[in-house]
Amino acid sequence: MPIVVRDLHYAYEGGTPVAVPALRGVSLTIGDGEFVGLIGPMGAGKSTLLQFLNGLLVPPPGTVFVDGQDLGAPGANLSAVRQRVGLVFQYPEHQLFAETVLADVSFGPRNLGASPEEARRRAEEALAVVGLDPALYQDRSPFALSGGEQRRVALAGVLAMGPRYLVLDEPTAGLDPAGRRDLLDLLSRLHRQEGIAVVLVTHHLEDVAERAQRVILLGRGEVVAAGPPGNVLSAVHRPALRQLGLDVPVAAQLVDELRRRGWQLPGELVQEADVVSAVAAAARRRAAGGEGHGA
């Protein structure tokens, strides 16, 4: 069962003269077990949209459905929805509060009514999933950890609730390249092995080009384009991407430049590995003289 958003409108300070429209009729679907990249510049409405997906902002009736449940219906069970849709905010390490890592990570399960033993078991599992050995970390203070470790603890705090959907707002912001790659690898692993649907919000198109099955491009509160990464990041949408101030992945830029110089590169090439093999193949053909030089 998917998350369905149907024609969602929202304005901050709604109903007053200073209303600021944030979402203007957004419709989208997040499939069960899907890896979706949600991209868009600052102010596109990404963070606002996320808060509707787990009922932090209550949508109008009939606009947001999680596994068939209307989040806007009166008396909707929002705590069940928040368990199913795990939301990881930007800089999630800023929400850590407990004296020990274990206490912090088990906060979510305890709120859901798990017994102390059950909460502990789930917290340990979640810590192991994010790559922190529970035996080494659980009794330490979260504030004594490095920034990257703190972020993992915060992520574990959401995973311990056992979500079916994981929604992350700029999870790699402020991480170094290695930390960034590790975190994205972790998300891919959660998606592949646990079957968790991942919604990755970012303005780094590289991240979603490499990992997402589907990309949704949001601009000024509207869905501008949606589809497989090769499609959304294809030449057709480049002007829209540039207009929104988003950088096309370097590999795709290279393909554009080579094509301009007359290289024959078939297909939608946005992923690094595809680009490398396509360029290598084309270079071999050119070296063999099978293709017009200097065209």
């Binding site: 787990n54 705590s79 939301l87 905010f89 999630p92 929400q95 906060f107 859901l112 504030f143």
Partner: protein
């Protein structure tokens, strides 16, 4: 929605007469008003001060809704003290509740107290809402300057107030974000008895305080890296001068207050 009430008395930009008055004049008038309110005990004095505050309120041309919202929390205090005064002052009973009685003297005292409190808060609100925080702290520094001889760090105190005011909106925003993050982890803030409610605040207040300290650290570094060293040899960018309207307003206000304090004790 409840969070918006935190920013009470926030500056509302405008160009009314009150907005254009020098912040120092407004600050002094506010202080003298407070003194006059407590110096006078006569209804005629209250009437005169009420007219003065009413005139200033009209001249400030503030949005009525925002102004009234600021008064709301005080009304609780007023209601509470009026009740106690009316019931517990001995004298001629108006209504008798057995051991307790509403007395004429009690109603009189309660009325005076209510008028004092409401006028005082209205005065404070007028100053706060028509004066930008920067101008207000400059005025505060000016007011504290005589204390420097006694070792009072006037500039530093004023700077601290400016920074504190400046960070209120940022902290409110951060508070909102933390509440949402903990709600996303299933936190229930509005359920249970007083103890479980108080306990539910821990996951919110701890990150808020840590965030405030983090901001303070960053701000201290930013100030130092721009060679801030307190009041030593510091000049002012906005040098405010007293205009004719400032003298007029100050003189007019002082006349009213002195009259009230002296004639209607």
């Amino acid at each position: 929605m409840a969070l918006r009430d935190v920013t009470l008395g926030q500056f509302v930009p405008g160009d009314s007469v009150l907005h254009r008055l020098d912040a120092r004049v407004k600050l002094v008038c506010g202080l003298v008003l407070a003194a006059a309110l407590f110096a006078t005990g006569a209804w005629a004095g209250y009437g005169l001060l009420a007219a003065y505050v009413g005139l200033a309120t009209g001249a400030a041309r503030l949005p009525a809704g925002a102004f009234a919202r600021g008064l709301r929390p005080v009304l609780w205090l007023v209601a509470l003290s009026v009740t106690f005064h009316a019931l517990l002052t001995p004298g001629t009973p108006v209504v008798d509740f057995g051991p307790l009685a509403v007395t004429v003297e009690g109603l009189d005292a309660a009325g005076r107290l209510a008028v004092r409190l409401v006028l005082l808060v209205m005065g404070v609100q007028l100053v706060m809402m028509t004066t930008s925080p920067v101008a207000l702290t400059d005025a505060l520094e000016w007011l504290l300057t005589p204390g420097r001889r006694l070792g009072l760090p006037a500039h530093e105190l004023a700077m601290m107030v400016t920074i504190a005011l400046r960070f209120v909106p940022a902290l409110v925003e951060e508070l909102d974000r933390i509440i949402k993050a903990q709600k996303a982890r299933g936190a229930e803030l509005e359920r249970g008895g007083p103890i479980s409610r108080a306990r539910a605040l821990v996951p919110i207040l701890v990150p808020l305080f840590i965030g405030a300290f983090r901001r303070a650290d960053a701000l201290a570094l930013a100030l130092e890296s721009r060679c801030y060293r307190g009041s030593l040899g510091r000049t002012r960018w906005r040098a405010s001068r007293w205009a004719a309207r400032d003298w007029t307003a100050l003189a007019g206000s002082l006349v009213v207050m002195v009259l009230v304090g002296w004639r209607f004790r």
